[in-house]
């Protein structure tokens, strides 16, 4: 069996808990630095994005109704699964140009990030909710609720940690997400779908697309069924486009600018708050 041919993986999208190819049938050739490896990456289309939003919308009611504790468990489970696939992600990060040490660091930090938000998933409500003093006979309290369906443009320079850092706080807060993976380093992002798929994350809660940002950003920001958009990048024109388009249906715009996700203090419960709505209730008392 010395002449055995290796079985190559087909890199596909992750939509609705399934791994479809792009409906458009288009591919992008991705090459590593020394051009020794070429991988065909799906060039996702607006219709792939539309399908992903449909599944994210469908998944929203179920996911946001889960108990905070259960969402924490599932985030923790994603961390466990990533830990178990360390070898695979090491190889992919190195293929994408990381040194062995950097790759190991990135995996460690990604797992830690998941565990961090798993911890916060059943605690952010307590710190962001409050009882408000009012001068009438009402018990007045404010709680946070998930914003809804979130579209996100992942950081371009961080394939795994960047992606995980965007997804974790969004789903910890009960939202569902459609995220466009890094164009430069897409390999790990695609494989992360496999981790999600084995982690009790319901289909549709996280959808991962690959493709060209310039082509898709318009649809990410105009789709009326998207409630918030997260943009990671420094391009002023893209930023302006997103802000303008977001005004169509008043999407929340979250912008992570020059964010270094590898730093010690890069995570925060306020990232969960970025995709939360504030609901205040006036409840009559003393009548």
């Amino acid at each position: 069996m010395s002449n055995r041919i290796n079985i190559q993986k087909t890199y596909k999208l992750y939509i609705d808990g399934k791994f479809p190819r792009t409906e458009s049938g288009r591919y992008i050739k991705w090459m590593n630095k020394d051009k020794s490896t070429i991988i065909n990456i799906c060039r996702g289309s607006r219709k792939d994005f539309r399908n992903a939003i449909v599944s994210a919308r469908k998944a929203l009611s179920g996911w946001s109704a889960r108990t905070a504790y259960n969402r924490a468990q599932i985030l923790y489970r994603i961390g466990e699964m990533l830990e178990g696939r360390r070898e695979q992600f090491m190889a992919e990060l190195i293929l994408q140009g990381s040194s062995k040490k950097d790759a190991e660091n990135e995996i460690n930090q990604s797992i830690d990030c998941l565990i961090y938000y798993a911890g916060w998933a059943d605690k952010y409500q307590q710190i962001f909710s409050r009882v408000n003093p009012v001068s009438q006979a009402y018990f007045n309290f404010t709680i946070s609720e998930p914003t809804g369906v979130v579209s996100a443009i992942a950081p371009n320079d961080s394939s795994l940690l960047g992606l995980v850092s965007i997804i974790s706080p969004v789903i910890a807060g009960g939202n569902t997400i459609v995220i466009l993976a890094s164009e430069k380093l897409p390999i790990c992002s695609i494989s992360f779908g496999e981790v999600l798929h084995t982690s009790d994350v319901p289909g549709g809660v996280v959808n991962i697309l690959t493709g060209e940002k310039t082509e898709l950003i318009e649809h990410f920001s105009t789709h009326m069924d998207v409630n918030a958009i997260i943009y990671c990048g420094e391009n002023k024109d893209e930023q302006k486009l997103i802000e303008t388009n977001a005004s169509l249906n008043l999407k929340h715009v979250v912008h992570y600018k020059n964010k270094k996700w590898a730093l010690e203090n890069s995570h925060s419960p306020y990232h969960i708050l970025n995709t939360q709505e504030t609901k205040t209730t006036w409840h009559p008392i003393g009548i």
């Binding site: 649809h219 105009t222 009326m224 069924d225 249906n249």
Partner: protein, 293 residues
């Protein structure tokens, strides 16, 4: 009667070929408008209330007010006790009121009770009657009974149009679907309709194609134009357009009209509206910005 067996594989392949047609841009907009005008906006639930019916009637005549030049739906389809409410709510519009009758959805009642139900809803102003056939009798081979029943219901309808629901999900085979279609048309149906929407599977493409072919053959033989109404499970604009392709290819453009083709659906209207707005603005739409159906 049709005495050939239906070739199931062939039917499926023909459906697959017809459904792969691509209808884009202006043709798509035109198809969407047409499909919208063919909808029987339906609410058939045990928990229906006068309020719900009134809301649906309002929806029928005001599909999406900030978007002008939209057609109105063909009819509202409700349970018998809601007919007078719907009739009143739709006063002054050209929207018909259709009522299910004859012990919908099971059809399990004696003939006398069925006929009285039909007469009373026609009296209350129903323009169209959706009756169910007795599937138990049909499956046990009592075709004459089924046929007679339809004839008598048709008589009881008077001026009202009669749609005959075959409930194809319970007829098991395409041969049965074909036979039931032939019986219904011969017995006087103005429309034949796939399903009640209460049984799964409801309208499947092979079943619809089989019924359309029955209508075509009946038309060739007698010159009568019988209408068709697939119902249940049609929720997207894409499916609606696929069915329009199927009718046009099977029966010709005469049938591309609300007079001879209807969709029985509750959530289809909003999906079509979202597509129409998408075609005009270029942006994908959200249900949040359309009235509840």
């Amino acid at each position: 009667m049709y005495n050939q067996t239906i070739d199931q594989i062939n039917t499926q392949e023909r459906v697959a070929r017809l459904f792969s047609r691509s209808i884009k841009k202006e043709s798509k907009v035109q198809a969407l408008h047409l499909a919208l005008s063919m909808i029987d906006l339906t609410t058939l639930e045990g928990k229906d209330s006068p309020g719900k019916v009134k809301q649906l009637c309002y929806k029928a005549s005001h599909l999406h007010d900030n978007f002008p030049n939209l057609p109105h739906v063909a009819a509202i389809c409700v349970y018998p006790p809601m007919v007078s409410i719907a009739k009143k709510a739709l006063e002054g519009t050209k929207i018909n009121v259709a009522s299910v009758a004859t012990a919908f959805p099971s059809g399990m009642a004696n003939l006398q009770a069925k006929l009285e139900e039909v007469k009373s809803v026609v009296n209350e102003g129903a323009d169209e009657i959706d009756m169910v056939i007795s599937r138990g009798k049909f499956l046990s081979g009592e075709y004459q009974y089924v046929s007679d029943e339809i004839t008598q219901v048709k008589e009881a309808c008077g001026k009202a149009h009669l749609k005959v629901i075959l409930e194809t999900g319970e007829l098991v085979t395409l041969d049965n679907v074909r036979l039931a279609s032939d019986i219904a048309m011969k017995a006087g149906a103005d429309f034949i309709k796939t399903s009640t929407g209460k049984v799964s599977p409801s309208a499947t493409p092979p079943v619809v194609l089989t019924m359309l072919e029955a209508i075509r053959d009946f038309n060739n033989k007698t010159g009568k134009q019988i209408g068709m109404k697939p119902a249940g499970g049609i929720g997207t604009a894409k499916q609606a357009i696929q069915y329009l392709v199927m009718i046009n290819e099977t029966l010709g453009s005469d049938w591309l009209s609300p007079n001879l083709f209807r969709f029985g659906a509750s959530s289809l209207a909003n999906d079509i509206l979202m597509q129409i707005v998408k075609q005009s603005t270029g942006n994908y739409q959200s249900k949040d910005y359309f009235s509840i159906d």
